[in-house]
Amino acid sequence: MASRMAGDAMLELSELSKHFDGIRAVDGLSLEVERGEVFGLIGPNGSGKSTTVNLVCGVFPATSGRVLLEGKDLGGLPPHRRLNAGISRTFQNIRLFGELTVWQNLWIARRDAPGEEAGFMRNWFGSSARIREAIEETLVFAGLAGRANDLARNLAFGEQRRLELARAVSARPQLILLDEPAAGMNREEVEDLKQRILALKGSGITVLLVEHVMELVMGVTDRVAVLNFGKLIALGAPGEIQGNMAVREAYLGSPDAEAA
């Protein structure tokens, strides 16, 4: 890694570990997510994917190791400051503000662009035309253009999922963490999500995708890392990973299991 220029990676995990009561949920994990790529993180249940996401978001401190965003150590920054640093996320279990409208969910998550930090009036009473425009755009991106004034809790499941994504985008992140966004989706919805993730990539946002649904992972990612027992067991292009014996073993127990 010495040959690579510092700051090349959007996200770098360095010897990251998290132990819970002696269980090594994440065990010396090192990897780099490059700027602008869609990076998949897969692994069987309990392999440490969710713990990794939570470490990146600052839910709890790491036992050891570091999380760096654009070369800057995030240390013990609390979640709300990690958002300001440029990391936003969606939740495996939908966590919208149900009593707020769709529009308000996006407004409240919105992070001001440099030079856009309006003062008291905008912060309290309204938003500038530019911000309203940006929110409208995000609504269109998520296919929620007609639902701006509906309460989030009244949306259908699929719409709530899309609003989760839109809310994360509204924060104008550099890195977006998608925590099992396809859970509970049908084939058509997965295809739809795939297009939206590619659109995110197209707008220059780096995506870290944690997912069980292989169809999605193989369809959108540039590189995939496979975790098992908190350790990295494989890393490569989706096509390589699909054929990797160690990965099959991790999922199926042994190479013979597949034949059986």
Binding site: R95, L96, L100
Partner: protein, 299 residues
Amino acid sequence: MVDFIQTTIDGLSIGSAYSLIALGFTLVFGVMRRINLSYGPSIMLGAFAGTWIFVTLDAQPWLVAAVTVAGTVAVGVYVERVCFWAIRRDAAIASMVSSFVIWMQLEEVATILLPGRTYPFPELFRTGGVEIGPYFFRMEYVTTLTVAILVLVMLRLLLFKTRFGLALRAVSENPAAAAYMGIRPGRVIFRAFVLASLIGGIAGYLLLAADQQVTPYFGLWATFKGLIAMMLGGMGSIPGAVVGGLILGVIESQTQWYLGNAYKDLSSYLVLFMVLVLRPGGLLGQGIAEREAQAFRRI
């Protein structure tokens, strides 16, 4: 019938002030799931600051009102720093206990400031009233009801239209998700305290101006009325606080009229007891089971 309606009108007027105090409790409970027992005593000390400039400097009523509200906010901020912010990582019960301790401290401060126990409190407008048909509207009650409605309308706008209000409601609904969306929980909680103190100071002034006097026991009284009204309506529910306060006011004035002063508090406890047995979450609060189920669905 005329008596009944007249008593209901009086009850609604007092009740609107109870609603404001209940709102203060419910706003703070909403954002932190913690109860501030010092809320009533903070209002009391603010009112003592107001009456202090009245008795020592013979200040104008409007200035007394301003000092009462400003004093309540100052004490509210102090309580937030000591009982909530400083021990925010500890158990919720720690905040409740320390807010009880600070309550005692605030009463001491009040008696040091003005050792005479009972002090006059000036009303904003001359006493008197308006007669409409067989009904008589006491001037203090008209003022109370008008101001309370005004505060409610402004609060509604604040909570539903401003970014701060939305952040406050987001933290009430899901503090963890709010933090991931860049909302600083500590800042929202602090502002919720300032807002609650502002409302409490206004309610305190209205109630005391109607009574024309203030004692250190007003703190205890305000905490009781506010907590009962909040629990009647449902803890953490904003419409619940309004409804709970109005119901409490009407129950009190009806019992006072038909059964006598001695039964006033007894009847409100009885109604609270029945409501909590029949609807443990309060009249407009979500039932606890329902809230759990909803949380589970989101997971």
